[in-house]
Structure formats: structure tokens, C-alpha cells
């Protein structure tokens, strides 16, 4: 039966080529535009660390003075050195790391490579195990290196390829800002998108090339990059950030179960109240403890242009679908005579309805395939754009499946009304007209 219907569908589609072509094109364009923007949206709002991000939390405190204070105001986005160190030393989570970003002049030993700026992450030992960072060679550092301000560095695989041709470079020396560092690890393929742990370097920006202990970076007065928010008489000297009234550090903590989260929350609240009582925090104690997804939502990481495009494309798809409904209606009504004959010969309304719906499904499938090709073209175009996130615009299996489901369901829905109208023709009238 199904093959017979399919055969009928193809015959009918072939009969009015122009109309079929228009329908397929409308569906394909709508689906193509829609899937391109939805894929970009899907990629950008993806989970940076699947399986891990649910248990990673970002504590926020409010150490600012009363200037600009209003009840209900959100606490500061980052931590000051004092609070960061206090939370780090408290060790209340399974793992925790304090970090910030920077730029370090890198002076390669190879004379054929000019010195360049390397994006750097200054952090503490738990960064690697907590974020599940894979290593190609060597490993990260431990608490001892943090304490001793050791001149050790972990490099990205790209940097390793650039400087050492991808060889195992563990133990070799890297010159950063006129100081010698010992390479102790080379990362594997690691790139969580968005760059959730520090959004101030660009949420989809290029990734760090060197990772070194936070204590060492302060020791060598390495340049801090990213957001620096000061109040009171803060600001000023970049070498004395430890004492300044500024927030410039990110702190992440791993909490494995709801009980741990609850107890960390109360620890944080007590800490803030203590600081308020002692006079260090002028504002009433307000804390936040967001996990990765909540933090990304709060910071509205997905560019609003991307969401706007998705809305626009959705509107466009609706225009295309309405268009298809109209054309489909024209097509089915044109066949009123044929349908009348079939009804007269004993076909039930349900059978006709099913057959017409199948026909629109076929249009949807062909439109979907074409739309998929258009989406690939669209994504290729997106990747040619200069924005940070452009390179990430690739279709994955989820979106591939979604394309077909959306195309077929949308077209079947579009076929519903015309099919219903068409199978309600009165057979007698049609036969008479013949």
C-alpha cells in the first residue's frame, strides 16, 4: 500500500513540475536559512564541558563600597585577591582553582620565529583535574609549585606544534617575559566553548597557549588582561593588585552533590557575613553560587545578533511554509476530479487523506535534503566571517537529524489543511463535471 501511495505521489509530483519545484524550493530555502542560524545558536549555547559542567560552581561575593549600592543589586562578577585566596585556602570543595588571564611576550629560542604575544592563563593546581583537561605529554603542576612560585609552564598543543613541531617538549625551556620556564606538560585537544571560566577574554575567543601558576605570574609582574573592576581608591598600580580594592580573579569550585552545594552556600554566606561584620565588606552580605549553565545564562553569552538571526530565520521559515500550504492547496484542489473518481470507486476519506499527506511528506523530504545542502552552504559562509565564534559553526548529528524532522513535520503540517480540504470533495459533483 505504502509503495503504491509513494508511486502515486511521485506521479502526481511529476505531473505539475513547476508547482512541485516551487514547493520544494520554498521548503528548502526556509529550512536552509533556519537550520543555519539554529545550528550557530546550538553551537554557541552548547555545554562547554559535557558531563562535568553540572558540578562546577562560580561563587560571587560583593566586596565593593556603598557607592552605587541599591538593595537587590547583583554582587561583583569576579573576586578580589584577598577573597580569592581565602576561598582557595578554605578548600571547601572537592577541587577548586583561582585564575585570571593575561598576555605574555614569548621569546622563542628558534631564531626563525619572531617574538610574539602568547595568551596566558595564570591559575592554581586544581585547574587541570577539575576541568578534566587532557594531556598529550607530561602533566599539570601541584600545590608545591603554587607555593614555591615555580617557573613551570603547561603549553597548548598548538603552541607545541608551532615551537617544537609536535614533539614531546616536556623538560624543555620556554622564555616568557625574559624569564626561563620549564615545560612540564603539553595539553591534548582541549577547547571548551564558550570560554566559560573567564568570559572577559571573549566568550569564543582564541584559547590560552600557556598556563602557569598564578603565584609565579604575580612574582614576575606579568601583565593581567581581562576585566579589572575597582572602587574607592583602587585601581592604579598594576603591580600591587593584591592589595588593591579591585576584583579581577575568577574562582571555580567543584561540588559533587546537592548537599555539598548547600553546605558551600552556607559557608559562603557565613564568610560574607564575617567580612561584613569585620568591616571589610561595606555592603550587606549578598552571595551567588551559579553553576556553569546558570553563569552563562546570567552573563548572556550567546551574542544577541545570533538570537536575532534565529528569530528572523524562523519568521522566514513560516513565510515559506504558508507559501507551501497555498501551493499545496492549489495542487490538491486541481486534482479534485481524480480524487472524486477514487472516492466513487470506494476509497475511504482516510485513505485519500493518508495518501495526500504522504505526498506532502515526500515534498518535505526532498525540500529537507535540499535545505540541508543549503544549510551546509550557509554554515560555510558563516565560517568565512571574522567573528570569534565563526569557526565553530559546524553541523553535528543532532542538528542533522533535527533538519529532517523539522522539514518533514513542517511540510506534513503544511499539507494537513490542503489534504483535509481536498478529501472532502463531493464525489458526485466531480464525476458530473467530468
Amino acid at each position: 500500500m505504502l509503495t503504491y501511495y509513494l508511486d502515486l505521489a511521485f506521479r502526481s509530483l511529476k505531473r505539475s513540475r513547476m508547482l512541485t519545484l516551487l514547493m520544494v524550493l520554498a521548503i528548502a530555502l526556509g529550512i536552509g536559512a533556519c537550520m543555519t542560524t539554529l545550528t550557530v545558536l546550538h553551537v554557541l549555547s552548547g555545554d562547554p564541558l559535557p558531563g562535568r559542567s553540572g558540578s562546577l560552581y562560580y561563587p560571587q561575593l560583593d566586596p565593593r563600597d556603598m557607592e552605587g549600592y541599591a538593595p537587590g543589586v547583583e554582587p561583583a562578577d569576579q573576586l578580589s585577591w584577598t577573597d580569592g585566596m581565602n576561598l582557595l585556602r578554605a578548600r571547601r570543595g572537592t577541587l577548586q582553582a583561582l585564575m585570571t588571564g593575561g598576555m605574555v611576550p614569548l621569546q622563542p629560542a628558534q631564531t626563525n620565529i619572531d617574538p610574539f604575544h602568547a595568551d596566558a592563563r595564570y591559575t592554581t593546581a586544581d585547574f587541570f583535574p577539575m576541568f578534566g583537561v587532557p594531556f598529550q605529554y607530561g602533566s599539570g603542576w601541584g600545590a608545591a609549585e603554587d607555593d614555591s612560585r615555580a617557573r613551570v609552564v603547561v603549553i597548548s598543543s598548538e603552541l607545541n606544534n608551532k615551537l617544537f613541531g609536535g614533539q614531546n617538549s616536556v623538560g624543555k625551556t620556554l622564555r616568557l617575559q625574559e624569564a626561563d620556564f620549564r615545560i612540564i606538560g603539553v595539553l591534548g585537544n582541549w577547547r571548551p566553548d564558550p570560554h566559560f571560566y573567564d568570559l572577559y577574554m571573549g566568550a569564543y575567543a582564541s584559547y590560552e597557549e600557556v598556563y602557569l601558576p598564578l603565584s609565579t605570574s604575580r612574582d614576575l609582574h606579568m601583565q593581567h588582561d581581562g576585566s579589572l573592576d575597582c572602587w574607592g581608591d583602587g585601581g592604579g598600580d598594576r603591580d600591587k593588585l593584591e592589595q588593591s580594592t579591585c576584583v579581577w580573579l575568577q574562582f571555580w569550585v567543584q561540588l559533587d552533590n546537592p548537599a555539598a552545594v548547600a553546605s558551600y552556600k552556607s559557608f559562603l554566606q557565613h564568610y560574607a557575613e564575617d567580612q561584613h561584620a569585620s568591616g571589610r565588606f561595606a555592603r550587606p552580605a549578598v552571595i551567588r553560587l551559579r553553576n556553569v549553565q546558570q553563569w552563562l545564562d546570567f552573563k548572556q553569552v550567546v551574542p544577541s545578533d545570533t538570537r536575532l538571526q534565529a528569530w528572523l530565520a524562523l519568521g522566514f521559515l513560516v513565510v515559506c511554509l504558508i507559501n507551501t500550504v497555498g501551493l499545496m492547496l492549489a495542487k490538491f484542489m486541481r486534482r479534485a476530479g481524480e480524487l472524486g473518481v477514487r472516492r466513487a470507486l470506494g476509497a475511504s476519506r482516510r485513505a485519500l487523506f493518508g495518501q495526500l499527506l504522504l505526498e506532502s511528506g515526500v515534498v518535505g523530504f526532498v525540500g529537507g535534503v535540499l535545505g540541508l545542502l543549503l544549510a551546509f552552504l550557509g554554515l560555510w559562509l558563516v565560517r568565512q566571517q571574522p567573528s570569534d565564534y565563526a569557526k565553530l559553526a559546524h553541523m553535528d548529528s543532532v542538528m542533522l537529524l533535527a533538519t529532517f524532522v523539522i522539514a518533514i513535520v513542517a511540510t506534513m503540517l503544511a499539507g494537513l489543511l490542503p489534504a483535509w480540504r481536498a478529501c472532502h470533495v463531493a464525489p458526485a459533483l466531480q464525476l458530473k463535471a467530468q
Binding site: D114, E178, R238, L308, R334
Partner: protein, 406 residues
């Protein structure tokens, strides 16, 4: 043209009628909003910037020894001046549209502090001697800095230079002192204070504010003697010399400071990079508009053709009893005009609604009223163009059809 029969016929085909009206309405709504977004972005990309963009090159050097900055700067400037075709050289901290902003906020009363809410947030441009010759800024009032003001101004790891003179932009001057001359007035940020000695035509900030255009011009120029924060060397040359000048300048600075990181670009490419995302968004919007209008037109062609096919006999009869070809043509064109009118009426309401939604969620401005009739006109024209083909076919139905049985 009698329109009652058209209404009667449309009433008989309620669903196709509704579909066409809906499609035109949606297309009109999306079109108005998309064109509005396009025009907003195009005008952002074209934001005026009162410097001679075509003639400027920027060579950035970083990773040098901060303690040597003073002596190295004059050495570097001298070296760059020696390059053939270079008309002027200076060194600054950051450039308009470079995305590297050094922000501060000033008040107008003596006890203003940085965090005062009523302060005006501005960009600080630290500049060295001859910056105006390289950038080509246009002085509107007062003067630029003299050499002793440059020499006396140091920053020493702090956030603000130790000087008491500033040059500000025209927009900032009007904002701070709406009805008075700005010259001689003072900006405060305890314990620092600065007297305005000059006003220049509007120069953009390192980042523009698309939601509030005037904010994009709030700059304060401060003189500064050579310091590690001055690391962007700017060179002026004829546009055709720029590439060579940059090449030679990078080579020269790299040779003088082998350990440093040296990068050079033309100012025009800096500007292009800043607006690249906006530009690609414009193209995406244009593409969506064009394709959507095409789809709408094809939809109208398809449905009208279907109607023409259905009514061949009626048309034949009308022709047989005296209707001219023109009458038939007019019938379909009027019908399309009525459908389009209903569509654009609904569409304008929808466009307005979408604009309200976007204003609330995406910080968009209110759409000027003329976008609505503009979009309506576009869809009317497209409807009329799309209907011509099927209507011509209808008009060419011979009267003899009336006598044939289907």
C-alpha cells in the same frame, strides 16, 4: 472597475485568500524590521571619525623593558621618522576603534570622585608630541599641548597622568557644558583635575556605543611624556606608501628591540576589522530579505496561476459576452491589489508589534514610521509584478472556451 464580484469570488476561496494575505503580512513585517536593522548597522559602520583615516598606519610594540621606555621611545621615533615617505610620527596609548579602552569618569564639581554616579564616563587618549599632525585631528577651539606640557606629564604606573591640561571632543564639550564655551573649564576626579585647553572635532572611542551615538565620542586627550603605556607608534604617509612604510617600520623596530612583539596595520584595516561582524550581519539580512520577497512573489504566481486555471471557463464566458482582454487583466490585478492591501495592513501592525518586542529584548530603537508605508509599497509592487504573468495568461483565454464543456 467593479470590485463586488471580486469580493464574491474571494469569499468562495476563503482559505487560499487567507493564506496569501497572511504570507504578505508576514513578509511585510519581517521586511520592515530587517530593513530597519540593516539601516541601523549601515549608519553605525559609517560613523564619522574626524581623523585622516586613509593616511594613518599603526605599529604596536610590546614586551620591552618598562624602565627603558623613555629612552627607547625617542630612539624609536627618530628611527621611524627616517623612513622614506613618512610625513609625521608620534606615539599614543590606544587608537579609535582598536577595542582597547582606558576608561575614566569625571565630574564637574571639585569633590567629584571616580565612582560618582553623575560623572561622565570617557575614554582617555594618552598622546605624545605631534599626535595631531599624524592623526589630522581638527582643532575647533583653543590649542593643542606645548612641549613643556608633554615633558611635565608622567604617569608612573598610575591610572592618570600628572598634568592639568586636556583637549576634549566637541560632543563631550557640548554634553558637559551645554550652553557655555568649554575652554578654561575644569574636569575633576579627586585628587586630579584638568583644565580644557582645546576642543577638537569628534573622534571615535576605541569601542562605539550603538545604542547611544553621542557616547561614542566622549574622549579626553591627555599629554604624556614617553612611558611604557605609550606603545602604539602612529605614522602618517600617503595612502599608497602605507604598506611599504609599515613593512619598514616593523623591521626597524624589531631590529632595535629583538625581544619585543611588533605588529603593524593600516588604520583603515583596523576600522574594517572593528565593523566586520556588523558588515556580515548586514549581508545576511539583505540575503534574507531578497529571498523572502522572491518566495512571496513565487507564492503569488503559483496561487494566481491555479485560480486562472480554475476559472478558464468563467473567463471564456466573460470574454464571450463582451469583456475585453484589458478587463480580464484588470480583474486579476485589482484582486491582487485588494489581497496585498489586506496583507500589508495586517503586516504593518505585525511589524510594529515585532519592533516593540525587539525594543524590549534586544535594545533596538523604535522604528521610524516611514518604514511601515515603505514596506507596504514594496509588497504592493511585488504583488503587482508577480500577478502580471498569470493575468496575461488569463487574458489570453479565447472566448471559445465558453462553448467547450470543461
Amino acid at each position: 472597475m467593479e470590485i463586488r464580484p471580486i469580493f464574491a469570488s474571494l469569499r468562495k476561496h476563503r482559505i487560499p485568500t487567507l493564506l496569501i494575505v497572511l504570507q504578505i503580512a508576514l513578509a511585510c513585517a519581517v521586511l520592515c524590521n530587517a530593513v530597519f536593522m540593516i539601516s541601523k548597522r549601515v549608519s553605525d559602520i559609517r560613523l564619522p571619525n574626524a581623523i585622516d583615516e586613509q593616511e594613518i598606519s599603526v605599529v604596536d610594540i610590546q614586551g620591552t623593558d618598562p624602565l627603558q621606555a623613555a629612552s627607547e621611545t625617542s630612539r624609536n621615533l627618530a628611527a621611524l621618522r627616517g623612513i622614506g615617505g613618512v610625513e609625521a610620527v608620534s606615539v599614543v596609548h590606544t587608537m579609535p576603534l582598536s577595542q582597547h579602552n582606558w576608561g575614566w569618569s569625571f565630574g564637574l564639581s571639585m569633590d567629584s570622585v571616580l565612582s560618582d554616579e553623575h560623572n561622565t564616563n570617557v575614554t582617555l587618549y594618552f598622546v605624545n608630541q605631534d599626535f595631531e599632525k599624524v592623526l589630522g585631528t581638527r582643532l575647533l577651539q583653543g590649542r593643542y599641548f606645548n612641549s613643556s606640557e608633554y615633558a611635565d606629564s608622567t604617569i608612573g604606573g598610575g591610572a592618570l597622568p600628572h598634568t592639568h591640561v586636556v583637549v576634549i571632543t566637541d560632543t563631550l564639550a557640548r554634553q558637559l557644558w551645554p550652553d557655555q564655551p568649554a575652554l578654561g573649564k575644569t574636569l575633576y576626579s579627586k585628587p586630579n583635575y584638568y583644565t580644557v585647553v582645546g576642543v577638537v572635532a569628534d573622534v571615535l572611542r576605541p569601542d562605539v556605543y550603538t545604542s547611544n551615538r553621542d557616547k561614542s565620542y566622549d574622549d579626553v586627550f591627555l599629554p604624556l611624556s614617553p612611558d611604557e603605556v605609550l606603545h602604539a607608534y602612529i605614522l602618517r604617509s600617503a595612502p599608497m606608501d602605507r604598506d611599504r612604510v609599515i613593512r619598514e617600520a616593523v623591521a626597524k623596530l624589531q631590529q632595535l628591540s629583538p625581544q619585543a612583539v611588533v605588529e603593524g596595520v593600516t588604520y583603515t584595516s583596523m576600522r574594517e576589522k572593528y565593523f566586520a561582524n556588523m558588515r556580515s550581519m548586514v549581508w545576511i539580512l539583505v540575503l534574507v530579505c531578497v529571498v523572502m520577497l522572491a518566495v512571496t512573489a513565487f507564492g503569488i504566481v503559483g496561487l494566481t496561476s491555479f485560480w486562472v486555471g480554475q476559472r478558464r471557463r468563467q473567463i471564456g464566458i466573460r470574454r464571450a459576452i463582451g469583456a475585453t482582454r484589458g478587463d480580464i487583466l484588470n480583474y486579476f490585478r485589482t484582486e491582487n491589489f485588494l489581497l496585498s492591501s489586506a496583507g500589508v495592513l495586517l503586516g504593518m501592525l505585525l511589524a510594529f508589534g515585532i519592533n516593540l518586542y525587539l525594543m524590549r529584548h534586544y535594545e533596538l530603537d523604535r522604528m521610524p514610521w516611514y518604514y511601515l508605508p515603505g514596506g507596504a509599497l514594496a509588497l504592493w509592487v511585488i504583488g503587482q509584478l508577480a500577478v502580471i504573468g498569470p493575468a496575461m495568461r488569463a487574458a489570453s483565454v479565447p472566448p471559445v472556451v465558453a462553448t467547450q464543456s470543461n
